[in-house]
């Protein structure tokens, strides 16, 4: 049996600012009057070290003698309350990961494991309600849980060999009621009509029942997140209330319809059509000649001349905005961090160097009292400060300059926080090769490993948020790993690397199924090759779990070795996971099972088109642009500069 040692590290008196801030926070914002003091201890459980290495690590890795004290036993007074908090199993823990990397350098072996927890020792007279309130405030159940104070016997993640992916027996014969029950049972995001369409496909075309993986992959593919289901819904009727301010809206609608006629558009009226028709019109008029368009969907791209030491070069300028509203609402740090991480990946997958970011957010009033927080919601203060910490932590770590940070406050954002990241990237145009993948081309997976934390990101973020969300979305929260994405940034800044890449897609929502699935029509994917964070993942999880710092690239077979060499130079893991085929089918193997085998044509239908009507409500008849008199009305004889 491995020996596991435990130690506690705390900041010495004058350096214990974090504990002091938490004390003030709990006293002032949570109104815990009886609380007199807090000590914060970082608890490490460590295995795989001999005595000498452990002693060396204590003052070199786990603590810094000038500011920290190390304890073998937790110092607790007899009336103190102890609260230990740890990440949920499987959640990425950068502290533990970095400690293990440091230990590897100390021992030159990689057999030590580290698990961390944060232990709060609370002094003062606290009622049971106080303790419950503190726990509720300090532990966000979607990412963390209360940790046991008992010694642990193992640091290995317990896992079981997963069962084969089940086939949904009787799917072809299910009636409406049975299909609805299946949809509810599986928590599917697709509409009932979509599910019936899937049933028809498997019954009539494939003449078999689908696997669970297939249903999940289709659900992910057709989610609002990946396919903009709402934006593709056909608007069968658009009407307008009467009013002074609806007149220009109505004229705009007429103008939209005229533009459709001029462009001879036959596709139905949809939000997507309204959002994109101006581009089509300007393009048709020849006014967008520096637009860079391709089959690849990475980011908005224009061609610009760039002066380099007085010589003009042709460059691509890429820009991209993205929200992570839902993840940030339920876990602000990780949600906002991965907002930026995800946003960077798009222009990065376009082989550009991402060099600047903007952050635009929306929140409720962060000064609102914590006790007025709605049930099922985190306090606004916690949301906005946690998200700021998460986004900045990711940007600062990856080394991306954030040039503008703007937060808008409006009570509506209590419904859901708005967390937008927008980034800019650029690359010399000759760095970017875009080619149609050929049968036999190799798909390489680059970067981070897959875990269970990325399951359901696409479908989850498209769902409505209810009181239960905090309890049930556990698997939808991810932590970013900026360090890995930074390695990809370095790799993709190298000309000799990018010219080997025919096409590239990032692992946003949808994981392997979408990132690799979108690369070309025919694919044969071996899920056994997908590197895992830990054992026990089944075929479905490997297929749909998104992860933050992965890319899939297509290279010709003769370039694989060269590409792998470059990846190794940048300290990046690269694995061959799939091959392009001429079948126009998406096929995934796991163990000896064919867990997905469906046609591209079916996937590309994007499900059943939905139909809706829209009524444009008349704006209130008032002078909106005049100084609003509510709070800031000027006192006679003065001016409202200062409230």
């Amino acid at each position: 049996m491995q020996s596991i040692r435990r130690l506690y590290v705390a900041k010495n008196g004058v350096f214990a600012d974090e504990a002091k801030r938490l004390l003030t926070d709990l006293q002032e914002n949570l109104l815990i009057k009886g609380l007199t003091d807090i000590h914060i201890y970082h608890r490490y459980d460590v295995s795989g070290l001999d005595d000498a290495a452990f002693e060396a690590a204590k003052n070199m890795i786990f603590s810094e003698p000038p500011v920290d004290a190390v304890y073998d036993e937790l110092p607790v007074g007899k009336d103190d309350t102890v609260l230990a908090v740890e990440y949920l199993p499987g959640q990425y823990d950068q502290r533990a990961d970095s400690a293990m990397q440091c230990l590897q350098m100390l021992t030159m072996k990689n057999d030590s494991l580290v698990r961390t927890a944060q232990v709060l020792v609370l002094s003062g007279s606290l009622s049971a309600d106080d303790v419950a309130a503190i726990k509720h405030y300090c532990i966000n159940p979607v990412e963390a849980r209360e940790a046991s104070l008992d010694p642990v016997s193992t640091l290995e993640m317990p896992w079981e060999k997963p069962a084969d992916v089940p086939v949904i027996d009787g799917f072809d014969a299910m009636d409406d009621a049975a299909l609805k029950e299946l949809s509810a049972h599986m928590g599917l995001a697709m509409s009932f009509d979509d599910l019936k369409f899937v049933q028809t496909y498997f019954r009539d075309e494939e003449k078999r029942n689908p696997t669970v993986t297939e249903i999940r992959v289709i659900d992910t593919y057709w989610s609002d997140h990946c396919r903009h289901t709402t934006f593709m819904t056909e608007l069968t009727d658009v009407s307008f209330e009467n009013g002074t301010f609806t007149a220009p809206i109505q004229r705009a609608y007429e103008s939209y319809k005229t533009t459709r006629e001029n462009l001879n558009r036959k596709k139905p009226q949809t939000l997507m059509d309204m959002a994109t028709i101006a581009v089509k019109e300007l393009k048709a008029a020849g006014k967008l000649d520096n637009l860079d368009e391709s089959e690849e969907i990475n980011a908005c791209t224009i061609i610009i001349p760039v002066d380099v030491d007085g010589v003009e070069e042709e460059w691509l300028l890429l820009f991209k905005n993205e929200t992570h509203n839902h993840p940030t609402e339920i876990e602000p740090f990780g949600g906002a961090a991965t907002c930026l991480g995800g946003c960077i990946r798009d222009p990065l997958s376009g082989r550009s160097y991402v060099y600047q970011a903007m952050r635009v957010t929306g929140a409720g009033d962060p000064r609102q009292s914590v006790k007025d927080t709605l049930v099922g919601k985190l306090p606004q203060r916690k949301l906005t400060t946690g998200a700021a910490k998460g986004y900045s932590s990711y940007g600062n770590q990856i080394g991306l300059a954030t040039g503008e940070v703007k937060e808008y406050y409006n009570p509506g954002f209590i419904a859901k926080r708005m967390e937008i990241g927008a980034v800019l990237g650029a690359a010399p145009r000759n760095n970017v090769v875009r080619e149609e993948p050929l049968p036999g081309d190799i798909i390489i997976l680059l970067g981070g490993k897959t875990g269970r934390d990325g399951c359901g990101g696409a479908t989850g973020s498209s769902k409505k948020h209810t009181v239960e969300s905090l309890e049930t979305c556990g698997a939808e929260v991810q932590k970013g790993n900026a360090l890995t994405e930074r390695k990809i940034q370095r790799l993709f800044r190298r000309h000799e690397v990018t010219v080997l890449i025919k096409r590239c897609n990032d692992f946003g929502a949808g994981g392997v199924s979408v990132a690799i699935g979108e690369l070309t029509d025919g694919l044969d994917i071996n899920l056994d090759k997908v590197p895992k964070k830990y054992e026990g993942l089944d075929g479905t999880e490997l297929a749909i779990s998104e992860s933050q710092e992965r890319m899939a690239v297509v290279v010709a077979p003769e370039h694989v070795d060269e590409f792998m060499k470059y990846a190794a130079e940048e300290n990046l893991e690269a694995t061959i996971v799939a091959v392009a085929t001429d079948t126009k089918r998406l096929v995934m193997h796991w163990r000896d099972q064919n867990v997905v085998n469906i046609t591209r044509a079916f996937l590309d239908t994007n499900g059943v088109t939905q139909h809706r009507k829209a009524v444009v409500v008349a704006p209130e008849d008032k002078d909106f642009f005049k100084l609003r008199k509510s709070k800031t009305s000027p006192r006679p004889g003065s001016i409202p500069w200062v409230p």
């Binding site: 810094e64 990397q101 580290v114 959002a275 030491d309 770590q397 940070v405 708005m418 927008a422 650029a426």
Partner: protein, 596 residues
Amino acid sequence: MGTLNIASEQGLAERFDSTIGARTVLMPFGGKYQKTPVEGMVAKIPVEHGNTTTASIFTHGYDPDLAIWSPFHGALYAVIQSIAKLVALGGDRKKVYLTMQEFFQSLGTNEKAWGQPVSALLGAFVAQQVMEVAAIGGKDSMSGTFENLTVPPTLVSFAIAPEHTNHIISPEFKAADDAVLLFDLPRDAEEMPDFDTFKAHCDFLHQAVLDGKIKAMHAVGQGGIAAAVAQMAFGNGIGFAVDASFATQELFNLRYGSILVETDAATAAEWVKRAHVSLVGKTTAAADVTVDGVTISLKDLQDAWEKPLSHVFPIKSESGTGDAELPLFTTYGPRRSEAFGTPRVFIPVCPGTNCEYDSAAAFERAGATTDVMVLRNNTPQDLAESIDEMAKRIAKAQIIMFPGGFSAGDEPEGSGKFIATLFRNPVLSEALENLLYQRDGLALGICNGFQALIKLGLLPYGHVQPLKADSPTLTYNTIGRHLSRMVETKVVSVMSPWFSSCKAGDVHTVAISHGEGRFVATPEQIRELAAKGQIATQYVDLSGKATYDSEYNPNQSVLAVEGITSPMAVSWARWRTPNASAPKTSSRTSLATNSS
């Protein structure tokens, strides 16, 4: 100034690194006091080698209240506002591209809910069509509902355009006795903008930028002209007097698409003849604002503006007390080496290092050859090979430079531990010792590299050694967050060869960006370091005096220490390097921060 949506967000913004990569053209807060918010961002294109004068301007437009009142007008003015901001930064509206972000409630089958995105997208469509700009990208999020609450019907417009760095305009007032003009955008009874006037203003102002006629510009946003003028005034402490001809009430109305312009009085006299251009007032040497005979100091305005969010996002930490001034140590150290060819600089890259490009470029500009090497640690075998190779490459170099970043994400709970652990490996410790003391080499650590050198014991002791409980160290800033801004630093010792071309007393404006930048040491150690000339640089105020004032010594380092050297002066560490290119205007906003 004290309303939530106008209030200063500096305490929020400064936790984000705004200078990494050395591309930043405008800092987020302009002026010598770093107080005028810059509404948008400007960065040089990231050419890997050489210099460029091509920059990108990126802005956004959005007002949630306007969007709630009318999603159509909200989206339309979002587009206009994003373009107005871009023009105010010196950009050309004819080169603009857009991308949009939509965020709406869950629509379900509610027809009126569906009317909201329809209305917003039609507003954006009209703006694009008339302005002849294209939104070539967009993302939608249609899940903004919680029970019976819904998010504002949101469409944020982002605008981008390339521009020559010489044409970039920052928003803070530059001088007293200048005229401030309003280039107004009139609206009709349907609250629709006069697009022709907007286009004419944009084109006229861009030409004026090319002609060098404009000193500062600011697009009018929430809070109207009043808020915009106050923000323009804060950066350099230049006051403002509203002209008697300008109606006071007009100062507070919303007027998206309007732009305030600072220019000299003679130019202004010509420009006011144009349609929809009027004189708002003039800048003043006195640091206050006068309207209708009422005068308020900029300080009171700024206090009111900074107060609403000060408890959520503190702007400053408490200042320590005491005298931080040191006598200058003016004796140059011995020349350490006979002449040799081009010096070779070894730059190790660990997981989380992110300043290596900037650092290598700075050394190359100074004439050195650089050798950048990525540590590989995916397996113990990779690691062993990598360490051996590193030792060999250090043996070929004259300088080792530890660049900035977040090695191992500053974990476990403390910065620089990863690099320190790596270089405590006997092979690398020996290579380092050999470089410094057998071959007359030099070491430099910046940012995370500073932290690593301290945590190795190389600073201040000169050799790799275990840390003691009383060793000087770097720890978390007292404000409890990352700090990114410009600071003034003074060279107080030239003992180290790193300062052979500086004079004691030289002051540089440099970018800092760190979460653990507070230098701590006991009073005895500080005295000893100072006596030996090991305190190389200090944080100083605008008068050049070393200080504990947290405005200028933001991380509250003991004795305002910013950089130190080893006893033999071969190792030096500090925050970011002084700016290599001269500021374009007198304002600090325009520092092209070649921070490395």
